[in-house]
């Protein structure tokens, strides 16, 4: 190659490579903004709230005296509401996802349904709250109860579960389905014996991410009328005497973690703000541990499967 042509080529490469540098720099700045904001939030909340974290904080009911106030009714309420949400959203969402992916004919009608499910994921949560207030609280007569709240949040995360299920199912190679059909399996046999087990990692990840979103939802829960101050627990689900299980808790009034936080932050005393920060730390820990669980499950289940 001629010396001058070679020089030109090198200049060209150098100019093009400048963009690599520029983008890398911009990317680091953007990432830094996101990471720093999150870290600052957590540290700030930890400084305010950490001193309040003690065993008493978890076992005390809310109180007018900030030093004695705790989150017992809130975390119990959150746990129970999440149980209802999981119990409703998982079977319904997974079944709907499986139906759409494996059974539904591919026509205009299913295409419209699919688009609408994706759209539902973007509906503001307060709209779900209004819907639930009319439907669960009044029309079905469930009242301002754990059941109503759990079902509302289940509706809210249903699109997430359906989309996650469909994506997990779609990642199974068609060769595996053909293998099952080729030995004489029916559609249900193929779904139950192969499609569902092999897509379990993706489905569970979607469910847990949906739950992690639901656990922090405040607006729809306020809309259906959760209490902001509650100094008693719902009836225990497990009883000492026959029949050992009780479902009375489903209809009990309740509060949840984000509402307890909201209540404390709206008070004038600074000590309550510290309580809110401490409750925020607990809620953040709950969410992060759910996400960690999702990552762990995905890792464990995917170890066995290599396509």
């Amino acid at each position: 190659m001629d010396q001058s042509v070679l020089q030109q080529t090198r200049d060209l490469i150098r100019r093009h490579k400048r963009w690599d540098l520029i983008f890398a720099a911009v990317g680091v700045v953007c990432l830094g903004v996101a990471a720093l904001t999150f870290t600052a939030l957590v540290i700030d909340m930890a400084i305010d709230g950490a001193p309040r974290l003690s065993p008493d904080f978890f076992t005390n009911f809310p109180s007018r005296r900030p030093a004695q106030a705790g989150i017992l009714s809130a975390w119990v309420g959150t746990t129970l509401v999440m149980m209802v949400t999981a119990g409703a959203a998982i079977p319904v969402g997974v079944a709907a996802g499986v139906y759409l992916e494996e059974y539904a004919p591919k026509n205009l009608f299913t295409a419209i349904i699919e688009i609408n499910i994706t759209n539902l994921a973007g509906v503001p949560s307060i709209v779900y709250g209004l819907l639930a207030l009319g439907l669960f609280v009044y029309a079905f007569g469930f009242g301002q109860s754990i059941l109503s709240a759990g079902l509302t949040l289940a509706l809210l995360i249903l699109p997430v579960v359906i989309v996650a299920t469909r994506e997990a199912i779609r990642s199974i190679p068609s060769a595996i389905r053909e293998a099952a059909y080729a030995v004489g399996a029916t559609k249900w046999g193929t779904t139950w014996d192969h499609v569902l087990p092999y897509s379990m990692a993706g489905i569970l990840t979607g469910v847990i991410i949906g739950m992690a979103r639901a656990i922090g939802e405040t607006a729809p829960i306020i809309t259906i009328g959760a209490l902001t101050f509650i100094a008693f627990l719902p009836p225990a689900p497990v009883q000492a005497g026959f029949p050992f299980l009780s479902f009375e808790w489903l209809t009990a009034p309740f509060t949840v973690m984000p509402i307890q936080m909201f209540n404390w932050t709206s008070r004038p005393e600074a000590a309550f703000h510290q309580n809110a920060a401490a409750a925020g730390l607990v809620l953040l820990f709950m969410t992060l541990s759910m996400n960690a669980l999702a990552i762990y499950i995905r890792f464990q289940l995917r170890k066995r499967i290599k396509w």
Partner: protein
Amino acid sequence: MSKVTDGPLNTSLLSVKAETKNLSFHYGAFQALKGVNMPLYERKVTALIGPSGCGKSTYLRCFNRMHDLYPGNRYDGEIRLYPDNTNLLHAQVDPIEVRMRISMVFQKPNPFPKSIYENVAYGLRVRGERKASIVDEKVEQALRGAALWDEVKHRLKDLAFNLSGGQQQRLCIARALATEPEILLFDEPTSALDPIATASIEELIADLKGKLTILIVTHNMQQAARVSDYTAYMYLGELIEFDATDTIFIKPKNKATEDYITGRFG
């Protein structure tokens, strides 16, 4: 006294296990098979050769109604399965029933992400076999039939993915054999394998043909020459020539077949 002509196609001594009668097939508007008439002789290996896109895999996949899994496909004509003379393509014949009689081995090994044992046992479980002793026995029989037993007998609980590519393909053959099919379909079974694994699969096919009828699609003419008794040459969805493998490879009747075999085309 007339001499009995012992031609290459002395069908009087052979029984026909299945035959396609005027079989046509459409993927939507595209016609992939055009009126194919061809027999499969019992306990013989029939090979399908032809250039890519000639319809040989499409033809093979008609035999276990695999095309039913996808919308927009249409069969015309008949596939007769003997001795019961069932038309496999008849609307009232359930494709699941067809697949219970005719097994298939795919192009790429496609074991389930389960144990070696469960892979072979799956066909039996689908047929409702619950007795562990019977399943054990048939799994062993199938793995022996696929020349895999000695390599895996101590690790039946291992994941199938831990096997090599050739072993995985033999596992898929064992899975297909476990249900004692009448016909075994092979869709380019060695195209994803190395030469040594290919040789072991070819040996296996030679062993199996005494027991059941085999239809194999291959893009490798030498393979067709090595393993098959009969060969069909297909081109653009049509059957150009069908004859004993020796005849096809030594003195084909059709000029197009000869051009393909000798490498002038394809």
